[in-house]
Amino acid sequence: MVVCALRKSSLRRYFFLNLYMGLSFLVSVGRFQILYRYSITSLEYNYFYFYSDALLTIGLYFALLNLYILIFDEMKVERYLRFGAVVLLGGTAWFSYAVINQSSYRILSHFAFELSQNLYFVGLVLTYVLWGAILKLRETRTRLIQLVLALGVYFSAFAADYALRNLSPNLQPVWQYITPALGCILPAAWTYSFLFVTEEARLAPSRLAAVPR
């Protein structure tokens, strides 16, 4: 995706999206190295996996902020959006800590897992609000619309995945295939948008939301 964005001269405009994808690539390489050296059941791999996942989720949260700034760029509210995003991130971290502090002795590792899970849900709600804003503001940039929708699909799939994992924790053999498969959604969808949709392409978002009555 980063290569496609670079080729289409969109690296700076979608900086945090590309930063997240670059980070995601580095984390994948790191995970492979740890997996190669230890094993999938090792403590090292598990620690690395959950800490890096928390880091990636924060990266994705800032990618979402990037999309917010692009949607609201004419309103000149960038400073307020950044401030709001930091406050919300801090609030989510505090909430995650409060939950873990009451019920766990291995605070740091459980905090990383809890923070990822809560941030996915916060991200999902924020993406939903952003989609509402797109419809309300009649945003027509097709690429931006597709990037937001793909993020919505990704966040909601992961939020459902996390919730289902909590509901049935003994289905580990199933999750080890489903979770990586869900991880392919975002890079594939964003790459598609950068490759096949030009920055100039326009689309009426109300057409997408039209349902039969």
Partner: protein, 133 residues
């Protein structure tokens, strides 16, 4: 209880985003015109029918695959199956829903035909490069 609530909300939102995303992919492809050659191969003139989807997909699988459009085609394939499911269940009770699912299935076919067009031109370019080399 909380996990069950989050799960239900997430699934509903997922379906909504998935449908909107697929429709955005379709909307982009609907602006492109099919070449007379692909029109002849697929039998699609102006409007496509959902009945032709599987046939166009078979033609698509005959062409060399392009990794960059694979996921988009898979997403539309899943959307088509979702529409077919809705068409054979809920839409039987709601006539307007039946018309909508039929029209959406036709758009999915058109999307597949546009993907076929891209793959044919990609194969042609590759062949031309090989001949030049």
């Amino acid at each position: 209880m909380m996990a069950a609530f989050i799960f239900v909300v997430s699934v509903v939102i997922f379906l909504q985003f998935f449908v909107f995303y697929c429709r955005s992919l379709i909307a982009v492809s609907s602006k492109q015109a099919l070449s007379p050659e692909v029109q002849e191969v697929t039998g699609i003139q102006k409007t496509a029918s959902g009945e032709d989807f599987n046939r166009v997909m078979q033609l698509l699988h005959l062409c060399p695959e392009r990794p960059e459009d694979r996921k988009g085609i898979q997403a539309i394939g899943a959307y088509f199956r979702l529409l077919s499911f809705a068409g054979s269940t809920i839409a039987r009770l709601v006539p307007s829903m039946k018309m909508w699912t039929d029209s959406e299935r036709g758009h999915c076919t058109y999307f597949a035909a546009i993907a076929l067009e891209r793959r044919i031109s990609f194969s042609r370019d590759m062949l031309a490069q090989q001949i030049d080399a």
